[in-house]
């Protein structure tokens, strides 16, 4: 296939789409599946068969539509482009709904989510643009919506330098958490000497409470592949690896299938679109190790070894996979690239704020009315996300939002108006992280949350360096004492000391960021720690204080 074939295919597919009088999307994201989406799809298909209307109606199982806590979600698009989203549909309800659409009745209002629901209007979907519309297993769906056009344009009309330049000027920063400027990284790898270079996509989404990358890989695998191919072209690599977390078998299966189809259409592999550009992608499965999110550990794992990190420098951009310059970006970062190349850097940079351009996908969950996946411009305030998009807190008043997983921290109610961008979150003692955002109400104990994260890091420490291996255990013991009301002021002091020790002496990011949840809760909720230590009482009545004689008075 060449560039003009691609365009023809896109036009043909788009034309076919327009001929349908009704397009019905059923969200097949994991939460909707658990709520029974597969049965809903079957019910709709049976109904359409009975009506003999299969030629006029398209039924698609798509990726995440967004409001996961209201699943299964059904999206109906009529010929004039009007969209109707229905929540909590059951198989009979879905059949009844579709039946009314088929009869040409007015759109049913039962279970209908209002079009002006802040959950939808508050979002800007660039990375998730196809979620809810395309069948992830059909490459034609992706192509019909402009897929692989960016790659075609880059290969035929742009130089590698120009692609790097475009990414640099867009201001895109790494979506894996640290926020390193993506363009600068690309430029480094492009300029690195060596004839063999690699591109690696980090899909080892280990943060508990985060499932953005899972959704992107499951819902729109080709977007990630196209982003990787663009990176390969820009930095001069002919081989890419996508590393998928072991817990995500569906994402892996979708990606494998996507790689195969893309290769068959000459959109990946040798002589892409009949040009002289080659780029192959191989999939590597992780096997459950949080430390593999760290880039040097990830490279070790890609090569089939234990995920032990090594000291940097040299950075992977200088010496990475098999000693060659290697570009590592997060899956979401790669998924953003096709949008930048397609619409230009100015367009992308116009979203978000200066130094924080573009959008970020957050997985919002916890004590929230609308839990699910949202994509908002960087700089959107936490209040907007929690109160407008999230629909407010359940079970009590807002107490804190946890971002950045075990490497992040908690943002208290006093900072609800903080814009969510890399710098502001850092200033509050948290990090952007990969995008997990867990909202907690006032029934939750922050010391218990800190203990939870230290327990996590303890389990996940690879054991290579002592500060992390032994330090997290000691911190865990101290937190256990605090949470059972047995600690003294001296324990609290020792805990803080250990935090600083781990930060300064750990080998990799896992250990040096492990104290963050403790430090951030100490900073914003010190009174709770003091209540545990001085008054032997858990103000939220979460911790079991049976070990102490003092009665708990919440």
């Amino acid at each position: 296939m060449n560039a003009s074939d691609l365009e023809k295919l896109a036009l043909h597919e788009a034309g076919r789409e327009r001929r349908y009088c009704l397009r019905i999307s059923i969200c097949m994201g994991s939460p909707c599946m658990a709520a029974g989406a597969a049965a809903v799809k079957t019910a709709i298909e049976e109904l359409i068969d009975r009506h003999g209307a299969a030629a006029d109606i398209r039924v698609v199982g798509t990726g995440c539509v967004g409001p996961c806590s209201r699943g299964p979600i059904l999206l109906v698009v009529t010929r004039d482009g009007t969209e109707y989203r229905y929540e909590r549909v059951t198989p009979p309800a879905a059949a009844a709904l579709v039946d009314r659409f088929l009869n040409g009745d007015v759109a049913p209002t039962e279970r209908l989510l209002p079009a002006d629901l802040p959950f939808f209007t508050g979002q800007t979907r660039l990375v998730l643009a196809n979620c809810g519309y395309t069948d992830p297993e059909r490459i034609e769906d992706y192509i019909a919506r402009g897929g692989y056009q960016s790659l075609s344009r880059a290969i035929h009309h742009l130089s590698p330098e120009a692609v790097c330049e475009e990414v640099t000027r867009s201001g895109l920063r790494g979506r894996g958490g640290a926020g390193y400027p993506t363009g600068v990284k690309w430029e480094l790898v492009r300029k690195a000497s060596g004839s063999r270079k690699y591109v690696v996509a980090n899909g080892d989404e280990g943060d508990p409470g985060a499932y953005m990358d899972r959704t992107i890989m499951e819902a729109d695998p080709h977007r990630v592949l196209e982003g990787m191919a663009l990176a390969g072209f820009a930095v001069g690599a002919e081989q890419g690896y996508i590393y998928v977390r072991g817990e995500y078998p569906l994402a892996a299966a979708r990606l494998r299938q996507a790689i195969q189809t893309a290769e068959r259409l000459q959109l990946l592999g040798g002589r892409i679109l009949e040009s002289r550009v080659n780029f192959r992608i191989d999939l590597r499965m992780g096997a459950g190790a949080f430390v593999c999110g760290e880039e040097t550990a990830l490279l070790a794992s890609v090569m089939g070894r234990r995920g032990h990190p090594v000291t940097r420098p040299p950075y992977p951009a200088q010496r990475g996979l098999r000693g060659c310059p290697t570009l590592i970006n997060n899956v979401e970062t790669f998924a953003t690239i096709p949008t930048i190349i397609r619409y230009g850097w100015e367009e992308f940079a116009s979203v978000g704020g200066p130094g924080n351009s573009g959008t970020k996908v957050f997985a919002i969950c916890g004590d929230l009315v609308n839990a699910g996946l949202v994509e908002v411009p960087l700089g959107t305030t936490l209040r907007q996300i929690v109160e407008e998009i999230g629909g407010g807190v359940t079970g009590g008043a807002f107490k804190a939002a946890q971002t950045g997983g075990p490497s992040g921290g908690c943002i208290p109610a006093g900072h609800l108006d903080t814009p969510m961008d890399y710098e502001q979150l850092k200033a509050l003692g948290s990090i952007m992280g990969s995008g997990g955002l867990i909202v907690m109400n006032d029934q939750r104990c922050m010391v218990d949350v800190a203990r939870f994260f230290i327990g996590f890091c303890q389990d996940e420490s690879c054991g290579k360096c002592v500060p992390c291996r032994a330090g997290t255990v000691q911190m865990g013991l101290l937190l256990d004492r605090i949470c059972s009301g047995l600690a003294s002021a001296c324990d609290l002091e020792q805990l803080e000391e250990l935090c600083h020790l781990l930060q300064e002496t750990s080998l990799c990011g896992l250990g040096s960021a492990a104290p963050n949840p403790v430090l951030s809760t100490l900073r914003h909720f010190r009174d709770e720690y003091e209540a545990h230590v001085m008054d032997h009482c858990c103000p939220a009545a979460v911790c079991n204080m049976a070990a102490t004689e003092a009665a708990c008075q919440p």
Binding site: S30, P31, A34, C68, S69, G71, E205, G206, D207, P208, G209, A210, Y211, R214, G246, E247, Y248, R284, M285, G286, A287, G288, A289, F290, S301, V302, M303, G304, R305, R306, G307, A363, C365, G366, D367, A371, G372, Q402, G405, G436, I438, M440, R444, V449, F452, F453, F456, D459, E460, C462
Partner: protein
């Protein structure tokens, strides 16, 4: 001890699946994790013979293969029980009480996370976040995500699961 039919003998036909994946990767050592995935999928766990076979075929020291197999949480060297129940310990599940759910299950079935019951019918595991946080707190019953309302409900679900396969 694993049931006798899960111990692969050198001419076990199931081993060909493992051999095929090694062949597909041209016996490349970098594909070790991929090979272990296929081996575990085929046999349910990784036993010594299989690990030794893989080490031999990929020309790797057995210690390296054993090291990788024990480093990653996903791999298990012991045969799992007939049913596997996982209690998610992600952040959202934790704040919604997954700790109490796990304790209730451990108490009811007399095993702790990571163990299999004496009769080989139930294995309890406690994975760190399965990425389905809107269902928090959730348990995985033989791989299926289920939202549970209370520790008692979780125990009841497992009891129901176990009673299904019971000989009548």
């Amino acid at each position: 001890m694993p049931a006798s039919d899960t111990v692969p003998v050198p001419d076990d036909p199931r081993r060909s699946a493992v051999d095929r994946v090694m062949q597909r990767h041209r016996y490349d050592r970098d594909a070790l994790i991929e090979v272990l995935h296929v081996a575990q999928e085929t046999f349910g766990h990784l036993d010594r013979q299989t690990l030794a076979h893989i080490a031999r075929e990929l020309s790797l020291p057995p210690g390296i293969v054993y090291g990788v197999a024990t480093f990653y949480h996903f791999f298990t060297l012991e045969a799992p029980g007939e049913h596997i129940c996982g209690v998610c310990r992600g952040t959202a599940c934790h704040i919604k009480g997954s700790g109490k759910i796990l304790s209730a299950i451990e108490e009811r079935f007399g095993i702790v996370a990571g163990q299999t019951s004496g009769d080989g019918r139930l294995t309890v595991v406690a994975p760190r976040c399965v990425g389905n946080c809107v269902l928090a707190p959730l348990v995985l019953l033989d791989g299926e995500d289920v939202k549970v309302d209370s520790p008692a409900a979780a125990v009841a679900l497992i009891e129901e699961l176990l009673s299904k396969g019971e000989p009548t």
